[in-house]
Subunit: 218 residues, 4 copies
């Protein structure tokens, strides 16, 4: 376990080894519980070298978040064919998302749990990634609305909320899929498409669910 202790390798390679070790440790132990000692040892490197390359624990954590956020968005982007209709694009994006998170559970734990739990600077880092995904979904919703040429006047905040909800549901299903044995990325994606797209379709047909008039204010 851990990288083979090869001496004298180029900086770029060493850095990736360190990030690998860090992602694994942060993902399993959590940000605070992970010690630089453990990370250095798992990377097969002395602690000062970690500091030489990555400056501080905060910087190291940030570097992990950036690398893994980039990897996830790239995986989703590359999984989607932008020529296809909106529902197919969403389907492909979800499949890529569930596949990637299932294959990189520690990375997903870092992004979904640890980064959001340990203070502003880290949370902001994932928030950026999340916004990219929400924007992607928002775009698809608007495209779908245009394709259907019906009711193009969905209020902006409403669309934003729908996208938020969809991304949140996807995140929840990723965790659910990771802990439910025998559940494939494909099945998770299908469940979510059923849940969301059908609802959205109905919605855009002009038949939204109507909240009842209220007596007691919330």
């Amino acid at each position: 376990m851990g990288a083979v202790k090869n001496k004298r390798m180029p900086r770029a390679v060493r850095e990736q080894q360190m990030l690998d070790a860090a992602v694994r440790t942060f993902g399993q132990r959590g940000y605070r519980a992970a010690s630089m000692d453990e990370i250095a040892e798992l990377a097969g490197v002395s602690k000062p070298l970690v500091y030489l390359y990555l400056n501080s624990k905060e910087d190291l954590f940030t570097a992990c978040i950036r690398r893994e956020a980039e990897a996830l968005t790239t995986a989703v982007r590359e999984g989607v064919n932008p020529e296809l209709p909106a529902d197919r694009q969403l389907w492909e994006g979800l499949r890529a998302f569930f596949t990637h998170t299932a294959r990189n559970p520690d990375a997903w734990a870092v992004l979904h749990l640890q980064a959001r739990t340990h203070g502003e600077p880290f949370a902001a880092e994932v928030a950026a990634m999340r916004e990219e995904m929400v924007a992607f979904v928002t775009g698809l919703i608007l495209v779908a609305a245009r394709e259907a040429r019906r009711d193009p006047s969905l209020p902006e905040r409403e669309v934003a909320g729908l996208a938020e909800a969809l991304v949140g549901a996807a995140e929840a299903l990723a965790a659910w899929a990771n802990t439910t044995p025998g559940l494939t990325a494909r099945q998770a994606a299908a469940t979510l498409m059923n849940f969301a797209w059908s609802g959205l379709g109905n919605l855009m047909d002009g038949h939204p669910w109507t909240p009842p008039a209220d007596t007691a204010p919330a």
Copy 2:
């Protein structure tokens, strides 16, 4: 800020003060970053008294989780009128959920972020609460299917997945609502009802979204 430093109060009262301080501190700083010193000070009490009443940091955290999980499920349960049809019950439950989480942001941070991020024992504690909510939603979906007397044969795992997705979406919207100024619990609930219930309705009409035949394996 902080409780008035009244000396000599009965144990039950002090304990609640301590839990208040702990929820606030854990919610804002995180489990590891919160120090028992800070919690004690915020509670207006000396550290030994916290230990005398709550034994350890772990026990204190667990007590926080339990109290807030109980408070949240109670709020939702009491917000729902079980005589109403399924869609109205879900609507009321969501409203109660968004209202409670908006009013107790630290408690929600403890339940949604901190408890899930810091190890099995705590995660298990919230998992129980989550399962109660998922079960509640699952029940509503089945009732709705029966009420519609259509396609009563939804596969069990499918329903479970839908419920997971709905709860996940609700959790995401709770965070979104907490950070979007001027967004009411009512609006958040309506967005989610639109998103989900319309989709479910469509689904149960026998028009699910159909995944395309695949070429590349996932």
Copy 3:
């Protein structure tokens, strides 16, 4: 276990219960590891009452030492008939000593181990008791010498050393007897009499063991 929690009992009785609990706790846990909480609980009393009656942990420990030292010396004194010849007196004293220590292992642990290990004031307390025993033995040696009317001019320091050695041997045998199953006080006393008295007799016959002339200084 522990005293029955009878309310409102006279001070003298309560004090003895506290000392019982303290001796047991100090003997088993050691002075520092024993907590006033544990002692109070074992005595079936609240902590402030222990302080009211016995002032402080130090005073409580000192009271234990005094009570048990007194009990041990009394047991030895009452076991010895001063009319008998010296060897019979020593035999009886040793039997009483081994019997008492075997019956009160916690008390013996307090006197022999704990009191000597935790600082001057306590060590001084047992030293007094020890000196009484050494004096008793010294007296017997001198009486024996007079009875034998031989070589009455044993140098004082020599006699003191012999008495120290005998008491030390007795203490070691007490520990040994306490941990060797099936070894009676009588057997322990016989072993020591054999060892010591025969040696002393020989010595006083004018046949001491002669140290060889030395080349290397110590």
Copy 4:
């Protein structure tokens, strides 16, 4: 006093400095009363370094016991010429013992008082050393019996008891010698030889002290 604060020395050296400081502190204050802070300061090192090298207070204490037990047994072993007759061997062993304990009073306090007073794991450590010494003495007694070709049939437990008594007497005399000014190791050894060897000789001549028939049971 205390090591000169030379920075950057090899681990093995620092470890010995730490053990020196620990033996001194444990010997004078006792195990519980000794604080890691004090030990670190006396060693001229920061506390974390002590933990880095010696893991914990328990491990540090155990390391002290091991080192000093080894040093004492080595001193005795090297002080004895196994070619000599039994009485000479005992004489030399005792001289080495008293010399070593007089020169290393803190180490002797650690072994004789502290280690036996603070729980099983430590007591077991010294018990091993003590057994080695008892075995050494037991061997000498048996050799002496064979050399004298008299009464070779001493019962095993009897011999064990005699050896225990002799070692106990030696331990008592070591403490006595340490607190009696002007008393040399040589004198202490001579006193004990007189006490013990003469007694043993007598015993093996077939003139043991005979316990009187008993009326009252013990």
